[in-house]
Symmetry: C2
Subunit: 391 residues, 2 copies
DNA sequence: CTGATTTGTTGAGGTTGGCAACGTATCATG
DNA sequence: CATGATACGTTGCCAACCTCAACAAATCAG
């Protein structure tokens, strides 16, 4: 219940404009005027301040075949970048992402074994140092966002539990900050995926969506509720994979029985297809090409369990969109109508009528973008303040 | 992405102060200064404006045994009231609720049969007219909030489906507005219960909680996510009752099989207790007094199914608190440790460690308060604007 | 080339919250 | 009971920010 003052107005207006060009791409000043409801002269002043800060650039107007004086185009500067980090079982990936949402550079550093926290920090810091060295000095690194496959406490970036990495109560954000000097924020990978798809992918502009991702080691998820990334109280929200969907005693990575993650697995799809391994695209192609009854039966089995979890979430959250990533997208692509029908039989009519199922769009850049968004958030919320403080 | 101007600052500050005294009760001006971070002189001006509007009153300071000049007490005026309406299978209840959250008056009008929409509107309008007639003219009715046992489309108050009442696609809010002339907002009853418990009950001050209510006709729920009442895209969120918790083919009121509402029922508790009927308190007393193995077995069975639904919600939403109302509160009270243990075995450790299970506190006033909150919302969001527009 | 249209630019104006100085009401102390 | 300390209300001035109106500039249509 904070009061607000003049400064907050300015702060908020700068933030709104920067977010508009960050999320929506370049826009003319007149367009910003319409979108924000602010006065022409105010927009001019705000854009000038953002330009002074180096955050945006004004370009000569496009030829639009419209009467009237052309309006300058405002675009985010390409000089502000964030570092995205994603530790996994078999690799640590580090990327550089621009404020315009483009992934400029991505390095995947394979590891012989699942890295410890110390190793992940060391590898990340080395990769970041390398990237920094090769980066033109006019670029400015804002901070680091880490996408962690596990439960991360939002307030301090403590990794509570990352089962596949074997990490428990590791102060990842603090360690990486100490190793690099940059501000570091960490969060659950699937939650960041939800944010990325919401801003730049299948859920552009939507306010209520859920995202489920199927990976080699399990199923994670994230949710956007009422326009906000919903992390829950500590940031652990989105664990759709541990929803109970059957009475069986097959257990998942957390030891819970009959859960979505226990029943719906990538490895079983690969097995029935006779593939030793495959990435998400290969798996989808193989599933679409296959016409054996065994494959069909396994797909149906997994779809039915997935439908239970999705239906529960739809009944509870009434989203506009369900985004499926990883092998769950393949499970959708094989027979979208069947999955939709299965969900239909388990949901109330009203929420079902409003929801769509969709595959994730961002592919391999998903987590880079999501993690960068985490790093950019403070800058976007208070452009002038963030830069003044760090200058 | 709206820009903001000076007016918004004022609007927001008035709103913040009114909400503080609305939710937190009377507060001294100096306390408001501390809570909002605003300047003393600003608080004085804002409180004066709210007092001019008749929304708050300043009282002489309490004796506080503190050095320094005493600070006047700011309290919400008792003259602003909202009307709360709650149609049910066997009655229509109408109440008057003050801006201070007190239920001033409540009339339950029993009906011989489940009322049609037209009947519910007619009864409500008549009750409201009666209440208005007996009300001192200095009181001011702000509007009407309706708590509906069913799915209500948030934006226009259309009742999409209220199974127990047999209503489908009924424009309740519009009809009641036409019958009374007051602004009318409608929403799902359990969602409003969640808001009420969050503001005035077991969840005071919390930002992430879920609420489940067990009634004679089923199980409803609501959620608060990140400090906001989460209605979902259309307002249908919170339907925990239709979460699948078993593989059985027992169906619920919506025809869905194996759901929480199908397995966890008030009627089965009454039956095993040998009671023909009972209100929530009587049921809880009877359950606590009973020690037959049959009762114990039924309680355990229902607790286990309830635990599945709660665990799923806890994994997905990471709430601070789970509030149980109606007979679900009784189910908790009989053996809280057992229910907690059952939930524990189905949840991830990190979110489980942060969550508490609690009974609802507001009892029979719950829906009156929740519905009134709906009616007050606009006034609280923009005190000066709301009153200027309606004057 | 002229008029219409749209938008940038500039300077004046109004509202609002912050701030500092001063006034006032209470408590503590002797 | 007088005095000082403390906390808070009150008052007047100030600065920040957005709006508005008038004017200028750039484009299209004819």
């Amino acid at each position: 219940m904070q009061g607000s003052s003049h400064d907050d107005v300015r702060r908020r207006n700068l933030s709104v404009i920067l977010r508009l060009v960050h999320l929506g791409g370049a826009a003319s000043r007149s367009r910003l005027t319409r979108l924000t409801g602010l006065n022409r002269s105010t927009i001019a002043a705000l854009v000038a301040e953002l330009a002074d800060l180096g955050l945006v650039e004004e370009r000569v107007p496009d030829a639009t075949n419209q009467v009237g004086r052309p309006s300058p185009i405002v675009a985010v500067s390409d000089t502000f970048v964030a570092i995205a980090v994603n530790p996994e079982i078999d690799a640590v990936t580090v990327g550089i992402v621009g404020l315009d949402g483009t992934v400029r550079r991505r390095i995947r550093h394979p590891t012989a074994h699942s890295p410890s926290v110390a190793e992940a920090v060391e590898i990340s810091a080395a990769l970041i140092e390398g990237l920094r060295a090769e980066l033109d000095p006019r670029f400015r690194m804002i901070g680091i966002g880490v996408a962690v496959p596990g439960l991360v406490r939002a307030r301090d970036g403590l990794v509570r539990h990352a089962p596949h990495l074997g990490w428990v109560n590791e102060p990842l954000a603090r360690l990486l900050h100490e190793a690099t000097g940059y501000p570091v924020l960490a969060a659950n990978d699937a939650g960041l995926g939800a944010t990325a798809e919401r801003y730049f992918g299948a859920g552009r502009g939507l306010t209520d969506l859920i995202y489920l991702n199927g990976g080699a080691s399990g199923i994670g998820g994230g949710l956007i509720v009422g326009g906000q990334a919903a992390g829950g109280f500590d940031g652990y929200a989105g664990e759709f994979g541990h929803t109970r969907v059957s009475g069986s005693d097959r257990t998942d990575s957390a030891g819970l029985a009959g859960t979505l993650e226990a029943e719906v697995t990538r490895s079983e799809l690969l097995e029935v297809l006779g593939l030793p391994g495959a990435d998400a695209d290969e798996l989808e192609r193989a599933l679409l090409a296959a016409d054996s009854p065994a494959v069909r039966a396994e797909v149906n089995r997994q779809q039915d369990f997935l439908a239970v979890a999705l239906a529960g979430a739809i009944n509870i959250l009434n989203p506009q969109l369900v985004v499926l990533g990883g092998f769950l997208a393949a499970l959708l692509a094989v027979d979208p109508d069947r999955l939709g029908a299965a969900v239909s039989t388990l949901t109330l009519r009203a929420p079902f009528e409003e929801v769509r199922l969709s595959a994730a769009l961002l592919g391999s850049n998903l987590l880079m973008i999501g993690a960068a968004e985490l790093a950019f958030d403070q800058l976007l919320a208070d452009p002038a303040g963030s830069l003044a403080a760090s200058a």
